[in-house]
């Protein structure tokens, strides 16, 4: 598994993809957080990181599928998947190697934003007047959200040898998981079970984590989604044997 992880990480950082993803993410959230009127911290006047945690998922929605779209699609298109699958490594090792490499890149994009926290800590009046617990549970939420999107992206990449298809399917699936259930819950017919439907969505659990409490149920929800996505990927990869 480590060999595959290593190769994937190298592929990100020996090409422009890795740097591009990190640069675009940081530029996007940086501009909203510090520059754009209406959303920047200085105008709003509160020492919190709401902006990052509100726009982070939107940025992830497009960036993560861009990271993951090549993972399996490219291997299938170039035929190198046959090379991998005929080596003494299991399908799971291949999936985890690729998944963890993509996730590493996502975390790398997220890490520099910790600087925002430090800045706000000192900008606060009095100094240190920031809801640290809220920020860190939100970070955990955003990281878990990224982990789910990555798993969705890896799955989407496994279903088609075409990277564009993989990208679009991943964006759609991520959007549906993130916002779809909440939208369905708002429709008339679902009035009786609206709360239940809403609780199936990612944003429900993401927002719950943002309140400063890391509830094991929310964490479990994220982990199960990741597991389901990787399991389906394993199924797709194994379908050559049917």
């Amino acid at each position: 598994m480590f060999a595959i992880y290593h190769k994937e990480i190298n592929a990100f950082f020996n090409s422009l993809i890795g740097y591009l993803v990190i640069a675009v993410f940081l530029t996007f959230v940086g501009l909203y957080m510090w520059v754009f009127a209406g959303s920047n911290v200085l105008d709003v006047g509160f020492a919190n990181m709401e902006t990052l945690f509100a726009f982070g998922p939107v940025a992830f929605l497009f960036l993560i599928p861009a990271i993951t779209m090549r993972t399996f699609a490219e291997e299938r298109k170039d035929g190198t998947i046959e090379l991998l699958l005929t080596r003494p490594v299991s399908d799971w090792q291949i999936i985890f190697g690729k998944y963890l490499a993509s996730l590493t890149l996502v975390i790398f994009a997220l890490l520099p934003t910790l600087v925002y926290y430090v800045s706000l800590y000192f900008l606060g009046s009095p100094e240190g007047n920031i809801d640290s617990a809220g920020v860190f549970s939100s970070y955990i939420g955003l990281a878990l959200l990224g982990a789910v999107f990555t798993a969705v992206g890896v799955f989407s990449s496994s279903i088609s040898p075409n990277q564009i298809v993989a990208f679009i399917v991943a964006v759609l699936l991520c959007y549906f998981l993130y916002d779809g259930f909440a939208r369905i819950a708002l429709l008339d017919f679902s009035s009786g079970i609206a709360a239940f439907i809403a609780s199936l969505g990612l944003d429900y659990h993401y927002n719950a984590l943002g309140k400063g409490l890391v509830d094991s149920r929310d964490v479990f929800y994220f982990l199960s989604l990741i597991f389901i996505m990787l399991l389906t990927t394993h199924l797709v990869l194994g379908s050559r044997k049917w």
Binding site: F2, A3, I4, H6, K7, N10, A11, N14, S15, D78, G79, T80, E82, L83, L84, L85, T86, R87, P88, V89, S90, R240, K241
Partner: protein, 304 residues
């Protein structure tokens, strides 16, 4: 026996790609796997390497069943898939190290093996280039080096020389011959000369079935029953008279003053010469066509 295939069958939908084939390959043997496109060569190899499972039947590699212990079998196999898939944006040495590490080679051993392979296939000058920069011949060498990097006892090569120029083909063949002494090599091709130049034994497969399994000499003799002699005279002659020779099957005019004689079970050349001299026809050419592997191949894989 290092590779034993028994009653292997693979069914895609309703089509039998491989139909109950059985064969064995010994250590130190180069086994040519021959057949027209779509005969089931690649399918057999894909099953032997654990990429796809068989519908029924077994493949044993070094005593291990592929279906039961794929990982163990894959340790013992060096595989070059058809079309030689490669990561074009990796450097040659980087790629070989990656493949080596998939086979659990580490550290110094890995680096040494990669260097040995680079030397063996003649990539010393190209090892620091990206694979995408290499010509097809060099890429093929990378593919071969990749299959060899973990020193596997069994080598499975799916059309290792397609698309190469004649010089490159000879080079790749030499590499295969060099390394084959203590390995089992199973390689597929649809080029006859390759089999003649390289193989100890040949298996011809057609429509998923084995139609021949013998050494190269034995294969040539499969077509011995009919012999073709081409005779050229200095002028037009009445070739009907030759039909009276014992053993002649047919005589026909080929164009110019050449005639094609087909005979069975008998060398008719002395009789042709005798009749020609009796009629005072001047013989200026008499050539017995050697039964070629091509003709055997055509004979065995004719799909009517």
């Amino acid at each position: 026996m290092s590779v034993i295939v028994e009653n292997l069958t693979k069914i895609y939908g309703t089509q039998k790609a491989v139909d109950r084939i059985s064969f064995e390959a010994k250590k130190g043997e180069i086994l040519g796997f021959l057949g027209p496109n779509g005969a089931g060569k690649s399918t057999t190899m894909k099953i032997a390497t654990g990429y796809i499972p068989p519908s029924s039947g077994t493949v044993l590699v070094e005593g291990c069943d592929v279906a039961a212990k794929p990982i163990q079998v894959q340790h013992n196999i060096g595989y070059l898939p058809e079309h030689n898939p490669l990561y074009l944006d990796m450097y040659v040495y980087e790629y070989l190290e990656f493949i080596g590490s998939l086979h659990r080679l580490k550290g110094k051993l890995l680096r040494n093996r990669v260097q040995e392979m680079v030397q063996l296939v003649g990539l010393s000058k190209e090892q620091n280039k990206k694979i995408g920069m290499l010509s097809k011949g060099y890429r093929q060498r990378v593919g071969l080096a990749q299959a060899l990097v973990h020193d596997p006892p069994v080598l499975i090569l799916d059309e290792p020389t397609t698309g190469l120029d004649p010089n490159q083909i000879v080079e790749i063949r030499n590499v295969i011959r060099d390394i084959s002494s203590n390995k089992t090599v199973l390689f597929s091709t649809h080029i006859m000369q390759e089999v003649q130049a390289l193989c100890d034994r040949v298996i011809i497969i057609n429509l998923g079935k084995i139609v021949a399994n013998s050494d190269v000499q034995g294969l040539k003799q499969m077509n011995k029953k009919e012999t073709v002699v081409v005779v050229e005279f200095d002028r037009e002659v009445d070739h009907e008279v030759f039909n009276f020779i014992e053993g002649i099957v047919s005589v026909e005019k080929k164009g110019g003053n050449s005639y094609k004689f087909v005979s069975r079970d008998k060398d008719v050349r002395p009789d042709i010469f005798r009749i020609a001299s009796e009629n005072a026809w001047t013989l200026i050419g008499l050539k017995q066509e050697e039964s070629s592997l091509e003709s055997v191949f055509n004979l065995l894989t004719k799909n009517e």
